[in-house]
Amino acid sequence: MSSREIKRIGEDSFRLDLHPQVRQLLRDLKEMTLSHVEDNSPVARRLFPIAYQNSPEMEMDFQQLTREPLTNHHRHNLTIFERTLSKSELNQHEALAWMSALNDMRLILGTALDLSEDQVNPAEDDPNYEGYVVYNLLTYLQGVLIEEVQNDASDL
C-alpha cells in the first residue's frame, strides 16, 4: 500500500493523506504567504520578478499592466488551497492550485531564509533550523505533487 501524502487516483482526482498537524502548519503558512503578497513585502519579491532589466520605463509599464492580475492570481490559488486543506480528495483544478500555493510558500520562505543551493541541510543549532525544516517539507510535498500530476491517469 502506498503511503504517499498526495496520490493520483483518477483522471481528475488525487487522494490527500496528510497529518492534521501538517494541515495546520500549511494553513498557517498560507496566511503568512498571503499577507506577504497583499502587503507587497520584500520577501515576496520573487513572486513579482522584474521583466525588463535594462529599461525602467518598459518595466514600469509592464508592472502597471501585470501587478494586479498577478496578485489576484496568487490570492486566488492560495484561497483554493486553504478551502481544500481539510479535504481527503482534490480534483485536477484544486491540485494545480496546490502546486501554485506550495511554490509561492517556498519562494517566500526560501527568500526569507536567503537560501542558496548548498544550504538545504542546516545544523540543528542553526537559528533558522525550523524554517529550513518547514522549507524541506514544502519541497518534499511539491516534489510528490509534481510526480503525481505528471502521472498518466491511464497507467492507474
Binding site: 520578478p49 509592464f62 509534481i146
Partner: protein, 99 residues
C-alpha cells in the same frame, strides 16, 4: 525632381531611423536559474505553458541550471510579454530581452 527612386542602398540604411531598426529586432523570454524552484517544476512549467516535449523542456531546464539562463520563447513584444507574465504566474524568474 529626378533620382529620388535611385537612392543608394547604403545611404538608405544610414538614414533609416534607428528606433525603427530596434523595433525590428526579435524579442525573447529568458528564464534564469534560482536556488528555490525545483528542476522538475521548471520542466513541468515549460511543458505546460509552451507545449514542449519532455525532452525539449528538460534540455532547456538543464541549460538554465548549468549555464544560469536559457531563452525559452521568442516572438513579437506582445507575445513575449504574455509569455513572461505567465511564467511569473508560475513563479519562474523570467525576463524580456531584445537581440
Amino acid at each position: 525632381m529626378t533620382g529620388s527612386a535611385q537612392t543608394s542602398p547604403v545611404i538608405e540604411k544610414l538614414t533609416f531611423p534607428a528606433e525603427t531598426l530596434e523595433d525590428d529586432r526579435p524579442w525573447k523570454v529568458v528564464v534564469w536559474n534560482d536556488p528555490i524552484n525545483l528542476m522538475s517544476y521548471v520542466t513541468w512549467v515549460l511543458q505546460r505553458l509552451f507545449g514542449y516535449s519532455l525532452e525539449k523542456a528538460n534540455m532547456l531546464m538543464m541549460e538554465v541550471h548549468t549555464k544560469g539562463k536559457a531563452v525559452v520563447a521568442s516572438g513579437d513584444r506582445e507575445k513575449v510579454e504574455m509569455d513572461a507574465y505567465r511564467l511569473h504566474e508560475y513563479g519562474l524568474w523570467a525576463t524580456i530581452e531584445q537581440d
